[in-house]
Subunit: 94 residues, 2 copies
DNA sequence: CCTTGGTATAAGGATATTCGAATATATTTT
DNA sequence: AAAATATATTCGAATATCCTTATACCAAGG
């Protein structure tokens, strides 16, 4: 199997607790940065930094709505599928 | 959705080109460290370190066969599923 | 027991991530 | 235009990751 460099970028972007929570929330519904502050224990600057990383991995994108940016997961099948697999993965045999 | 800390450990373990190649190879067939050296551009020590990380994430395990350790993916549905998703994921809309 | 082949670990320096603090930019409201 | 709101960026320090080198461990054969 050929490993694409892009895959590592995606995995690295998701391999952080805050970013994984962000995409999980965004899968439920699109959200602006301010409303994410109410859901996550992170500062505005930090959330914005994480969103920049997720955007760099082309996992999320946004639509501008006045001063707000409405973020959404731009590859929902991929991200949703990954979360499903992780949720349903049986614990490894001890 | 509740984000398990374990998920991040798994994602982090896979978010490295060498480790992703290791698990892709191990999905094909179990392999010992020496034979992985022929497949990957990495030193024995480095491969061993990566295997240690993958083992810490409970992604791989091994059976001892004399002096050799026969590594295998201990959660093939999870790892195989992740690779399938990445392979089939449509490029994000430009 | 000594050597050899297979694998793991320790130590170290280089590089990358992470997060807070401060600042910048853009948009709306007054 | 000034103030307030929403978001992004820059900088720096703490921390983590990565890889190389050297060394240790362990099992089998002689």
């Amino acid at each position: 199997m050929v490993i694409e460099k892009d895959w590592v970028v995606v995995l690295k972007a998701l391999a952080h607790p805050t970013r994984l929570r962000i995409v999980a929330e965004l899968l439920q519904s699109t959200k602006c940065v301010t409303s994410m502050q109410d859901l996550l224990p992170a500062s505005q600057a930090n959330i914005s930094q994480h969103l920049g990383i997720l955007r760099g991995a082309r996992i999320v994108d946004f639509t501008q709505d006045g001063a707000q940016r409405c973020y959404y997961v731009c590859r929902p099948e991929l991200v949703g599928g990954l979360l499903d697999l992780l949720r349903d993965a049986p614990a490894p045999p001890a």
